[in-house]
């Protein structure tokens, strides 16, 4: 457990670690009877052949993953799935990570920096004990901003507060990337719409196969049906044209 209810899992999966790119995900399956859980990769080590994921314990199957001890084996680590996030020099990029997204945004931040971007990273959490990986993220960010709803550390407020902070710092983003729960993605697209730049969010839906077969992850973008697993999971469309399906059916992905 990395912070309350968020777990970090390192799995040995050399073939997956070898080809994975920022924004892609894997599916873990804790064995007979469990559900298949899609998780965005938070880090990887190609030489060691390992992959790091961070997930929230929300139900039986994520509970099973959380119970794993070092050295345990699980039958399924499949991936990398989904389309990698577009990476080049965009200029100034604001990256927002909340909840499990503070982890999964790391590869994004790292590669953006490698591409020569100015990277401003915003960590968002309810309280200071829910923030993590600030040090890792600082390594590749020009600035890390802490944002807590109770003001226990950094600035007090939610995503919207970022507007004031960016203004204070005279930063005008060329691109905004938000990773985290549905609410965070929604707020990012709503509260930063006025910048009129691409806002990239990841669609963390329930999935079964992750290869386009089941259609659980469907969403409507610009009036067309898309599947988060094969067309996504990253999407730079505005929230209002995304229609969500079944948030409350089965497990919401952590």
């Amino acid at each position: 457990m990395i912070v309350p209810n968020l777990h970090l899992l390192v799995v040995h999966a050399p073939e997956v670690a070898n080809t994975i790119r920022p924004g892609q995900f894997v599916i873990l399956h804790a064995g007979e009877g469990a559900e298949r859980i899609p998780l965005t990769a938070a880090d990887w080590d190609r030489e060691e052949g390992t992959l790091t994921v961070i997930f929230m314990e929300v139900g039986t199957s994520t509970g099973k993953l959380a119970m794993l001890k070092a050295g345990d084996q699980i039958p399924t680590v499949v991936g990398p799935l989904g389309v990698p996030m577009e990476m080049r020099n965009f200029g100034t990029v604001v990256c927002i990570g909340g909840c499990f997204g503070m982890g999964s945004i790391l590869p994004v931040v790292r590669e953006l920096k490698e591409n020569g971007n100015k990277v401003i990273t915003i960590l968002e959490g309810r309280s200071k004990n829910l923030l993590y990986w600030e040090e890792k993220l600082s390594k590749y960010s020009d600035k890390v901003i802490r944002l807590t709803r109770d003001g226990s550390t950094g600035y007090k407020g939610h995503v919207k507060k970022g507007n004031e902070i960016l203004k204070e710092m005279n930063i005008i983003p060329d691109r905004i990337i938000a990773m985290g729960c549905t609410t965070l993605s929604y707020l990012a697209t709503r509260d930063y719409a006025h910048y009129n730049v691409p806002i990239i969010i990841t669609l963390n839906t329930i999935m079964i196969d992750g290869t386009g077969m089941c259609g659980v992850c469907r969403c409507t973008i610009d009036g067309h049906m898309k599947f988060a697993c094969v067309d996504g999971p990253t999407s730079f469309r505005m929230w209002r044209i995304l229609t969500w399906k079944k948030q409350n059916q089965g497990n919401v992905r952590g």
């Binding site: 073939e15 009877g33 991936g79 079964i208 077969m213 089941c214 259609g215 049906m225 094969v230």
Partner: protein, 472 residues
């Protein structure tokens, strides 16, 4: 004359679970022939010199040959005969549409009911499974060639089976955590028990096929990269991208693709929930849209999960229903309610985003369309609503896009299917063949197997003498 006598005799019925019992359990509906029944039925075959039934079989099984063995009580010879041409007799005996392939051509059928070829095939396979030792066929001398099979569904299984027997090394890759493709995730337990599929896969493994699950070709590694490690490859990745109706409300909770519904229940064992952990909501009123075998499977699955009322909503009439007659009858017997000539136009939700009602239009049949079937035309002002908790969309699938989009130079049609030479299954890429639903769009298990057989023949010729024949 004995022939005249046998012609008059009607086919031996196969025992089934009674509808009121079976509609509440996931055990197999049809129970199979006993030895006596099988021998009795087999003796109806005329053993024609020029058997028309064989012409109707996509994998050219020696039908009179294996039936004769059953008639003479030599069951092990019967299964050997079957397996010469068909590596999945237990599967095909159950899910092949025999009534439009082999049995429709049966001479006995011209004056009565045709010989029950499918039931006899199933019997032979079951007899073999009940034996303690499974005979393994002879494998030709190893050639040292390595073949990659992508997808472990019916097409891939056939290619793997044929090429391993020919002496090549075969590696089969599967994206999901269990092999079998549509046989595992799609066809329900009560029609094709999972243990039969795993038995067939084990048989392939005994022959030496190497199976790797959780491997997504095009993602974990590209096909082009894999070609550096193999002498030839076969793509059998199936039709795995569900169609939706593109009507308002399809993103509501309670609306499923047939693939999702069946996969949750079958592959993820949702029918055993809460013993297993994949939830399947027990909806009370369920509408299934579509008229194929998959639609029947969904409707009958919903009943077994405890639904009170299950409807099939199909836009054409009963005559155009693409499902097998047997499946339609099974569904009807179990209490599925059919709304023919009905087209859903809108799904309506409640405040919390759950499906509440389905709005439909009544249709009538007009002029024949491209498919030769009479086209359904909406009747103006015929809108009506039905209260529903769930709607399962079972109107078909597009080919899975992962390999076509990640393999440069692979020729693909507008529909997304891989373009191959009709006679050999060879694709536009050197050393790569394809077959099954990824080439034809959604079709049947046996057609995929037939395509696999053709491709395997061409691959074997290529691996043996380096020649790819095209154009037949």
């Amino acid at each position: 004359m004995e022939e005249t006598k046998s012609r008059k005799r009607e086919r031996v019925e196969m025992p089934k679970q009674a509808p009121f019992i079976r509609k509440r359990n996931f055990q197999e509906v049809a129970l199979g022939y006993t030895k006596e029944m099988a021998v009795d039925e087999a003796s109806r075959c005329l053993a024609c010199k020029k058997p028309l039934c064989v012409e109707g079989c996509p994998v050219e099984i020696d039908i009179p040959g294996f039936i004769k063995c059953i008639a003479t009580n030599d069951f092990s010879a019967a299964i050997r005969k079957l397996k010469e041409k068909n590596c999945l007799p237990a599967v095909c005996g159950r899910v092949c549409p025999q009534e439009e392939q082999c049995e429709i051509k049966c001479i006995v059928g011209k004056k009565g009911s045709p010989v029950a070829i499918g039931r006899l095939e199933r019997f032979a396979a079951e007899w073999e499974a009940s034996q303690t030792i499974m005979e393994l066929p002879e494998i030709k001398t190893k050639t040292g060639k390595n073949v990659l099979v992508v997808g472990s569904g019916p097409a891939g299984i056939t290619v793997a089976g044929d090429l391993i027997l020919a002496g090549h090394e075969v590696t089969m890759l599967e994206a999901l955590h269990e092999p079998g493709g549509v046989l595992s995730y799609g066809i329900p337990e009560f029609r094709l028990p999972g243990k039969i599929v795993s038995r067939e896969i084990e048989y392939l493994q005994k022959l030496g096929v190497k199976l790797i699950c959780n491997y997504v070709v095009g993602k974990t590694k590209s096909l082009s990269d894999l070609l550096n490690e193999y002498d030839a490859a076969f793509i059998g990745t199936g039709a795995g991208l569900p169609w939706f109706m593109e009507i308002p409300g399809e993103n509501l909770n309670g609306v499923y693709s047939a693939n999702e519904y069946l996969t949750r229940v079958n592959l993820m064992r949702g029918y055993q929930y809460p013993k297993t952990y994949t939830p399947v909501i027990r909806h009370r009123r369920v509408a299934v849209v579509g008229g194929g075998n998959v639609a029947m499977d969904c409707a009958r699955t919903a009943l077994r999960l405890g639904a009170e009322e299950v409807y099939i909503v199909y836009r054409r009439s009963r005559n155009e229903l693409p499902a097998r007659l047997e499946e339609f009858e099974n569904a009807e017997e179990e209490g599925v309610i059919f709304h023919f000539l009905t087209l859903p136009v809108k799904l309506i939700g409640d405040e919390e985003g759950w499906l509440k009602e389905i709005e439909c239009l009544k249709m009538e049949l007009g002029e024949p369309d491209q498919s030769g079937r009479r086209k359904p035309v909406p009747l103006a002002g015929s809108e009506f609503r039905m209260r529903m908790d769930a709607c399962i969309v079972a109107i078909g699938n597009s080919p899975n896009p992962i390999i076509p989009t990640t393999t440069p130079n692979l020729e693909v049609s507008k529909k997304g299917t891989i373009i191959v030479d009709e006679n050999t299954g060879k694709t536009s890429i050197d050393r790569v063949w394809a077959g099954g639903d990824i080439v034809t769009g959604a079709a049947t298990v046996i057609l995929a197997m037939g395509a696999g057989r053709k491709a395997a023949r061409s691959m074997h010729a290529y691996l043996t003498n380096g020649i790819v024949s095209t154009g037949g």
